[in-house]
Homo-oligomer: 351 residues x 2
């Protein structure tokens, strides 16, 4: 176990650490005391029908969901809804490689799948919060993977689903992209097979990882339009160094690798003998599939192919040249589109 000031209440709180007990893992092994870092907004009503679950993405925490997506007057309005943001396992806030001890510490952390997160969240919601139905599950990227997994695994519990910029079954192209990200980290001699002392010893690998994110995370249109300048950076190198590298540098490499491994293998068809159509056909939630127009690795085409397999679903792409990392909230117009779709979805009759 190592301390890492990045993952603290100061930068990412307030959140509450809630133990859901021992979690058996799909790949074998278990997390003996699985703790989920949870941020809630608003209150559960008497009918217990206003709960919204928001899972998190690769490298993200509940903080960015709060800052960018939740607020009075927004679709995710704490005055109307009880919004539960759950940081994924490996995120650095919930049980993760860097904050685990002994047999689970660092590179010895067991392989965790999207399905493990979703089962852990299910226990949290039902046992800790007494929530039996969800008005909505909404998340971006790996949060979309968890959203799909929720809708397939617990079709009677999820009334509405809004997967943003993510897929139900990860593509093989995206798997290779994940490899390139992880390779950038693990090939740094300072990584030492995961037994580095602190993230700074893996700074070069984390920077290479940030560069690959720069190439794939935004879009060619983003850079042609000089969006990096609009965001306050004089040049692309400054953007790479100060924004992208600065963002990832304090994070724990083993945490990132645990999340990347999970991301690469997201696949709801594991619930149905590898039959994706059967898995998505189970969904009862009213589902809006919302890719981002210029996303280079969860592109609209891949998302639309899945959307067609979901009964009663709608394809609601978001238009933004910011691409995948528009999820960061860099494009207010995209957030406005998103809120419009979510308001409509929340107003729609649902399962």
């Amino acid at each position: 176990m190592s301390t890492n000031p990045y993952y603290g209440q100061e930068g990412h709180g307030p959140y509450e650490l809630i133990s859901i007990g021992a979690l058996d893992l799909e790949e074998g092994g278990k997390i003996p005391d699985c703790r989920l870092a949870v941020a809630t907004h608003g209150a559960l009503n008497a009918a217990k029908d206003n709960a919204i679950l928001v899972p998190t993405w690769y490298s993200g925490t509940s903080k960015i969901m709060e800052q960018v997506y939740i607020g009075k007057g927004r679709a995710l309005d704490p005055e109307k809804y009880f919004i539960v943001v759950v940081n994924q396992i490996g995120s650095g806030l919930s049980t993760s490689p860097h904050n685990s001890d002994g047999a689970l510490a660092g590179p010895r952390f067991p392989k965790v799948r999207i399905g493990d997160d979703v089962r852990a969240q299910h226990r949290l919601l039902t046992q800790h919060f007494g929530v039996e139905r969800l008005a909505l599950v909404v998340g971006g990227s790996m949060g979309a993977q968890q959203t799909y997994e929720w809708a397939v695994r617990y079709p009677d519990m999820v009334r509405r689903a809004a997967p943003i910029a993510g897929t139900a079954k990860n593509t093989e192209h995206d798997f290779v992209f994940g490899d390139t990200l992880s390779d950038a980290i693990t090939t740094d001699p300072g990584f030492r097979g995961g037994d580095y002392g602190e993230p700074a010893e893996v700074a070069a690998g984390l920077k290479r990882h940030a560069k690959i994110w720069t190439v794939m995370g935004w879009s060619t249109d983003f850079f042609r339009a000089g969006r990096h300048k609009a965001l306050g950076f004089d040049s692309v190198p400054a953007f790479v160094d100060n924004f992208m590298t600065g963002y990832f540098a304090p994070m724990d490499p083993n945490n990132l690798l645990a999340m990347a491994w999970k991301w690469q293998r997201g696949d709801v068809s594991r619930n149905s003998g590898a039959d994706l159509a059967a898995a998505l056909g189970r969904i009862k939630a009213k589902t809006y599939v919302m890719p981002i127009s210029h996303d280079m690795f969860f592109p609209p085409g891949d998302c639309e192919a899945e959307q067609r397999l979901i009964p009663g679903s709608e394809f609601r792409p978001l238009k933004s040249i910011d691409g995948h990392l528009g999820l960061f909230g860099t494009d207010p117009a995209m957030l406005a589109q998103l809120d419009g779709h979510l308001n409509e979805l929340l107003a729609a009759p649902a399962a």
Copy 2:
């Protein structure tokens, strides 16, 4: 100097090695005896007005241009034209890191720019072949960079220009992509700062480099459509291992790095005080700008922005989900489109 059986007449011939003498380089220093590997098809006519120049792309040689683009009945028809395919400096066939001695050997090879190649080719064409006008310059990717450089630098010599899947001024996004490719190689401990014994010692780095190419070289639509299967590979991992990694594995890492450095810095505005519009405004060649619809790093949008700056030019995108590496000739329909455009261009009145 090292021998590398990959770069031989057997795999890439026939070609002729032609010395163009000492070449002073834009970055300083010189290549004392610059030799260009040249493959010609057809014969120069009496009027000396049927010459076509074809420069090569990153990792490519004159062989693939011959196999995929040149032939009787094709737009590039040796029965009509004198087609000169010139392997770029650093390609492994022309003067390159791996086949240079002493002060130029391996990692000590000087930095070469697109402009250096084009001046070397100009000397070759005028002094060796006695060609004073070019009916067409056509090339893909780095070949497009050289095509643009030709049209800007020698506007009175180039009658027609067909840059395919490349830009006149490399984008900053593409520069970062280039970094990720080079980083994959140079971070391999076996690379030893360029002083490896043979490419196999850098196999792991070359494989990572091939994976990044897999992510960016084709397109998400290519993989969704199972195009890798149509090309004869059972799975994406088999495609990565046997096709992509197999393709790059025998190549010399220092050669690849020399080409990548050059590619990242392609910029015709160096001829006009960094004024891209002024540089492209000089072009007299009838120019068809031909990006590939699904190219992830020389995308149509970037190419069209440049096309608008070229007097009398036309935007002629090629439609293929194979993306950038459709240049390999994997999509016959795209080649048919290309031939159609080139036939039209060659029939058009030109400068």
